[in-house]
Amino acid sequence: MNHISLPDQAGHFDAFGGRYVPEALIAALNQLEAEFDRASLEPAFWQELDRLRREYSGRPTPLTEVPKFAQHCGRARVFLKREDLNHTGSHKINNVLGQALLTKRMGKTRVIAETGAGQHGVATATAAALLGMRCRVYMGRVDTDRQALNVARMQLLGAEVVAVESGSQTLKDAMNEAMRDWVASVDNTHYLIGTVGGPHPFPKMVREFQRVISTEIKAQASERFGRLPDAVAACVGGGSNAIGTFADFIDEPDVALYGFEAGGDGVETGRHAASIQGGSIGVLHGMRTYILQDADGQTKESHSISAGLDYPGVGPEHAWLAATGRANYEAVTDAEAMAAFQLLCRTEGIMPAIESAHALAGVIRLGQRLAAEQPDAEPLIVACLSGRGDKDVDTAISYFGLPGHPDLYTGGVA
């Protein structure tokens, strides 16, 4: 396992990754790579990022044991890494603050971003407000319609939100439109990609900014249990919270890595967003990786109840981890994720993002499987709770058929 050396100089994780982009972007990608490499070697850069993480974002995030939830997970002890407690409500801010500092260092005054559910867009708009940069967020028309609250949040933070009406009008098309903007604006603009995808150096850089998740888990686990967890788990769309959760454990062979993709209606139905479990190798958004594609290589639409996982590709490092067998990927259906969503609410008083609920459903399955395989073991599992569920209340109301009015009325005059 020589993971630390990956990606190689050209941005390849063996057969995955690379740079499948127009030549017009190469200069900007080289500039970004050089700036990131320089900044990485400067303690002052990391000190400034650490300060923002502590004082602004609220890190380190706690590790919360969830014993009542764990009663549904075989004999496992389950801990949640509480990325939902970050400022703006998800792990997205970890990466955004890092890239925003790099943007300032490059002397650029404008950031653009793509967003699906709106979490990354809100985080980007937040950092732009904090650091005094102009911000434009591209969002598929379908997503601006179903995530109106996050559109307003971004606007309140001073960002301009563009509804993308081309193609399937979802996250992948928002990413296309952001790329088109960037081709024309690289002089003063940084494209702040929100996941461990896209052309090199994004997969590597975003991994390094999200690595803090596993670094903290490692320290917290050592302090609390005096050992490493037996397994860490996370949901995987593009895969940024999962890479953050895995990063410091990839070279720890005793720690199993589990990524849970969005299985939608079930991988066998074809209506899903599980690029590793239900896709094939191809090129999309500048990278070679597992994607959902038809017989000609046209991108297929993904399907998931979770807007943040509704993406027909996955970061190239996950493709590599899957191909080498170092990490295990499984699909979790909408129904499994929503059951886990409700279970965590009811047992622990924590409302997860539906994205994160995929990881929780995966942990239930994993814990039960481990209990069947090793009845005497009490495995220690850490799942990344990547975001909070406030944004998903509308989806939950319609999924669970909540009445949308109080249970009882009292005190009125009949």
Partner: protein, 275 residues
Amino acid sequence: MTESSQAAFSAAAAQGRGALVGYLPVGYPSVPGSLEALRALCGVGGDGPGVDLVEIGLPYSDPIMDGPVIQQAGTKALERGVRTSDVFAAVEAVRSTGTPAVVMTYWNLVDHYGPDAFARDLANAGGSGLITPDLIPDEAEDWFSASEAHGLDRIFLVSPSSTDERISSTVAACRGWVYATSVMGVTGTRTSSPSAAPELVSRIRSLAPGTPVGVGLGVSTGDQAADVVSYADAVIVGSAFIKPLLAAEAAGHPDDLSGLRAVLADLADGVRRRS
């Protein structure tokens, strides 16, 4: 039999002018309709000359180098069921008029078809080569071997932001000619002449003397075309040819090629003007 698309540039040069390269996507307004439009682009059914080289677009679901006009035609073509294999019929239709043809598409479609199989079928159809907007030479190992094996042109893009080093290495990787993107941006018509293009072309000329250079992005009128060929070997026009097709369909006459022919006449005149 394939011949280098460079021949189109040489033939125009022999007439003391720059070449006109015209782009249309296969499958819009329909596959048969696009073959008619491509033949019209070659001058069939019109009064004047056609383009010197046809660039046939193969629509892709995620065309990050394309502006709204080409996106719109491509999305419609995909909705109407265009397949990768249709591009070879389009190449044959163009070749039957005597005009050389290259294909332009995004790498995943070629990758998925198999680079060698794609090169074989393109060469068998009489195509001269492939323009690859999202494939840089650094990632093109498979395409080098496939294009060499089947004698096809490799047309990579250079941009105003390309360093001298990258211009040199990219031009060295090309076979036939190099595509210079005139502005920092995506495809689509622009009102002014491309301002970054003269400098980019002059950098290519000094770094790689003798390489034919085609300039594309943003050209729509005969005046702009005349300006571009005053310093480049060819001018490449796409969106301006598609706009009248979109307008014809919107007006309820998707087979009406008169608008396309009018744009062609203006551009063909532009490259023939003596400055």
